[in-house]
Amino acid sequence: MTDAYEVVWPRSPQSVELQDLAYRPDSLDGRTVAFLWDYMFRGDEIFPVIAEELKARFPTVEIINFDQFGTTHGDGEAELVTALPQLLRELGVDAVVSGMAC
């Protein structure tokens, strides 16, 4: 063995480039907000509270509940994530709230 080593990087390149976030509207009034849920960690109790608060602050906001989509975790994840762009466009969704990471 030598006393000095020159060693290489143990990682490998990331396969995705940096991506932009979507455009944000100034207000949710008149917009349609969809809820996505992984069916874990009390989303069924949390999303109604968020809906109530959004409607109080933005009286003309429309809410599409999570039960319109199915689960974003488990068996259903891959299929739903693939289908989401078209599904959201068809429903006229302007913004999404996705939970729960716990």
């Binding site: 020159e6 290489v8 143990p10 509207p25 960690f41 488990g74 994840e77 302007d94 729960m100």
Partner: protein, 454 residues
Amino acid sequence: MLRASNAVEAAGIPSSSLTCEGFVNQATTTAAGLGRPNLPVALVPGHVDTQELSVLERNVREVTVPAVIANLTARPGDAKRPEEPGRHEIVASGSFQEINARFLAERWSDGLPIVPPTQAAVEAFLAHTIFDADKVLGVVLPDNREVTAWSIAVNGVMAGCRPEYMPILIALGRCMADPAYGVEHSGNTPGADTLITVNGPIAAELGFNCEQGVLRDGFQANTSVGRFWRLMLRNVAGFLPHETDKATFGNTWRVAIAENETVLKNIDWPPFAGAFGFERGDDVVSVSRYTGGGVVTSVYGQQAEHMVDYLADAIVSQTSWELVFTIGISRETYRPLLLLSPILAETIAASGWTKAQLQQALFDRARIPASRFEEYLGHWTNLVPGRRRLVDFVNLKKADARFAESEDPERMVPIVGQPDHLLIGVAGDPLRTNAYVFAHNGMLGFPVAHRVER
């Protein structure tokens, strides 16, 4: 959840992801791997499962909702990504101690000393594979990094593998990148760890232990290959404790095991890899993620029929919340593993039982009351919300009819969907009557196998 949010943003729709307090770091690093480091999250204080409803509602109204609104109506700052070295770049030079100090500081090491991955050492590994150094075998989350022959060789060197293990390591790289395995779930909170099983002549050729102490460190092939897997998870997939690896407890990586091929041949049972369509004599590596396990000591009996009740009881005993992978979070993806010592397998086979007959007998006996099943799903945990009974799942066509043959809450129901979902391996001390049962993490580490190419 973040993967869904990422797909939403890619579709040009703003998102806000709800994240409990302990998961903000994980969300940040996962988002970076998806290419959107500034993917906005809205904090949910504490952990929701222990909060009274009034506390939960107050937290959501006062903390979460303002963040949701900000996330959806104000553009977060531009994303930045740190510069990284090139794929073959020399990143450090120095003594053994200096290299190890650097690798620890960069979090490229697991805490034990690594073998310095010099270019020459890596080239020696690459000489043992049919693939070019930059051959991409797949891409792995959460970091979205490429699994290449080069990255496999580098981490194999670091783990203390020998160059001739390279075909095994390549096959493991394929397993890690196999979508069916679901490597992206390797940082989930149960902290399950992968068990690697090696089948075929290559196991003996490379000196894998398949006998006494098969799960113990101390055998270079078993130990270093197990360590390689964890280093790959760290350096290529990107699982780091306190960030993307959210194991509540976790444990050290498992050493790889080999099956006792001689005994399997003598009793004419298919190898473990047979569960994936491979034949005896095929060189194969299999992986699956297990949440835990326990030894089944001193199985007594001279006939299979005498042993099977105890073995079935052991499988039941190791299975609790994991039932959400039979019904609930996923459908029939629970695959517990029963590891039999050779003398047990030989005694069972001498009774005339095939592996399939043993699986059927275990399936018939490894049962629990429906009420207990339902407690794991949605009473003691809230992993499957709605407090549904098994009958409800069957009516919703989310479970097989065998789980609702009556409405009697004390009826006995199976813990897996089919007999062959109870996986069986043969290894360990040839002359001791012990077994081992591993509980399984469902589709969050589903069993996959790949042929060793050489």
